[in-house]
């Protein structure tokens, strides 16, 4: 992977594109709720609160315009989920797309899973560039021809037409979750996938929609005894029997599906010991893990809690091997962050293709990258002020106290309504997609 940023100083991030409109008031439906590249990085999918999916495709690189390193343009868009009302339980079901996960490509069509709180759907996205012409029984408008007028037999031929991209729902996996789905993960066997809600995880076969296996159930017999919920889950990238799930108590469990049908007993339990004298009202809330991701290598897992990102070695359960502070200056703001509910924001985290750099979002449209090798980190901002083509992003700095330098921003000036919860990193190149409320930013490293 030539030119792959192993040293933070070698990678200069530049603005590439921004999608979405500049609105004074943001329509809630336009808020982006998930972003995901497919396995080749050719496609980039977004889901929003309005239940819509937009897929962008990278254009072929052209020798005429070497600086435009493959821009992403709209390829397909469709309404994936619609709002529902469960009359039996008096429950409103949001159409918000919680997660999108791509299946690896096995033929000309693309497949993805999209889910809201209750229902997972398998969508097929395919191209049509030919159309049959010359039907025997109907004319070109589709009207039936008078049979008595037909004297010659003709066979339709396929003729080229303008490219049309169609999205069709191929499977609907419904009615398997009492609680709200937070994660879906495609298994490396490409035959099964899992869906996780607050208390249960189900295993599905792509071909079967009316049944799923329950593989984790942490619902207590007496709900009064409920102490933790499942916050995220993911399959191991290579071992189809292994998966992890994280909890609201800051722990991660690794399970092996070969040991038993119901994986309530974990194979490994990852938890960092906490100094009891440091414990406060906020301790458990800020330790709740909002995202868990396996490294591409499968050797590590990364977790995101409110203030940090941690990297764990699968072979060491008693503490993470690396801890990165995302915005520790918020520790002295926890009271107001609790009052305005920001303390419950669920940030995601991502690995780069070589597992050398990790990225996560913060407030004020800031996002952070940590280089695991050099231990350098950088704070960048997704803003239309830095949106000139190929403009290099200037590192940002938050001033904690005392004298504020000219280009620094003080903690009290941070805009907590501008949160970067969802980001994605191209599987092999230095291209990132950052969702800033209703706008999608695409950044690339500088082309020399």
């Amino acid at each position: 992977l030539a030119g792959f940023g192993n040293l933070m100083q070698d990678v200069l991030w530049c603005f590439s594109q921004v999608k979405g409109t500049v609105d004074i008031g943001v329509t809630e439906a336009d808020i982006i709720s998930t972003v995901e590249f497919n396995h080749t990085g050719e496609l980039l999918a977004t889901g929003d609160k309005g239940g819509r999916v937009v897929i962008f495709q990278r254009e072929q690189e052209s020798k005429n315009q070497p600086h435009r390193r493959g821009e992403y343009n709209v390829y397909s868009t469709f309404q994936s989920h619609e709002p529902e009302f469960d009359y039996l339980k008096s429950l409103e079901i949001e159409e918000k797309i919680n997660k999108i996960r791509w299946l690896p490509q096995q033929n000309a069509a693309y497949f993805l899973l999209s889910t809201n709180d209750k229902t997972v759907k398998l969508w097929k996205v395919s191209e049509r560039d030919k159309r049959p012409e010359g039907y025997n029984l109907k004319d070109e408008d589709g009207r039936l021809r008078d049979p008595s007028m037909i004297t010659v037999l003709r066979v339709p031929v396929l003729r080229p037409m303008d490219l049309m991209v169609e999205a069709t729902p191929r499977r609907v996996f419904a009615n398997a979750h009492t609680y709200h789905i937070n994660s879906i993960s495609v298994n490396s066997d490409y035959e099964t996938y899992m869906s996780a809600d607050d208390l249960r995880i189900n295993l599905w076969n792509f071909e079967i929609t009316n049944q799923s296996f329950n593989i984790v159930d942490i619902k207590p017999a007496n709900m009064e005894e409920l102490t933790e919920v499942i916050t995220a889950a993911e399959f191991h990238p290579h071992h189809c029997n292994t998966f992890v799930y994280s909890s609201s108590k800051g722990t991660i469990r690794l399970c092996d599906m070969r040991t038993s049908a119901l994986c309530d007993r974990h194979a490994k339990f990852f938890e960092e010991p906490e100094d009891p004298s440091n414990r406060s009202f906020f301790s458990e809330i800020i330790s709740s893990i909002s995202d868990v991701k396996f490294s591409h290598s499968g050797r590590y897992i990364m977790t995101r809690d409110y203030l940090t990102v941690k990297v764990w070695d699968l072979n060491m359960e008693n503490r993470p091997i690396e801890t990165y502070q995302v915005h520790d200056y918020l520790r002295s703001k926890l009271c107001s962050l609790y009052e305005n509910d920001c303390i419950f924001d669920k940030f995601e985290c991502v690995w780069n293709g070589s597992d050398s750099v990790i990225m996560t979002g913060s407030y004020n449209n800031f996002f952070r990258m940590f280089d695991r090798n050099t231990k350098r980190d950088v704070t960048l901002e997704a803003s239309r002020e830095n949106s000139k083509p190929r403009a290099i992003l200037k590192p940002r700095k938050v001033c904690v106290g005392g004298k504020r330098r000219k280009d620094e921003i003080s903690v009290d000036s941070l805009d907590f309504s501008k949160k970067i919860l969802h980001t994605a990193w191209h599987p092999s190149e230095n291209i990132i997609a950052v969702a800033a409320t209703n706008n999608l930013y695409i950044f690339q490293d500088k082309v020399n």
Binding site: T21, T46, D48, V74, S90, D117, L226, S280, F282, R331
Partner: protein, 98 residues
């Protein structure tokens, strides 16, 4: 001995602030109350049993309607299907595709 307590973690300072504002805040913060609230997301208040019983009691009279500006239907008032906000899908295409 008093000198040791001078360095209080910022978290504990924030905790003291919160407890000063909300003295009745639960003893088990990360426990059941939060989690149950999370699990009950999406719960609405229309009860068809209450609705039908109220309708039967009132016989032919109209049920008291909600004030037009009320966005949330709860409490003593018995909601009618007309009061519940309509849940319609977005018919507008995403602006990202524009």
């Amino acid at each position: 001995q008093e000198m040791e307590d001078k360095v209080i973690s910022p978290e504990k300072v924030e905790e003291a602030k919160l407890k000063a504002r909300y003295p009745h805040l639960g003893q088990k913060p990360g426990g059941s109350d939060f989690l149950r609230k999370r699990l009950q997301k999406g719960q609405k208040y229309f009860d068809s049993g209450d609705y039908n019983m109220a309708k039967a009691k009132m016989k032919n009279k109209q049920l008291p309607a909600a004030a037009p500006d009320k966005t949330e239907v709860t409490g003593d008032h018995i909601p009618t299907p007309q009061d519940l906000p309509q849940r319609k899908p977005s018919l507008v295409a995403s602006k990202l595709a524009g």
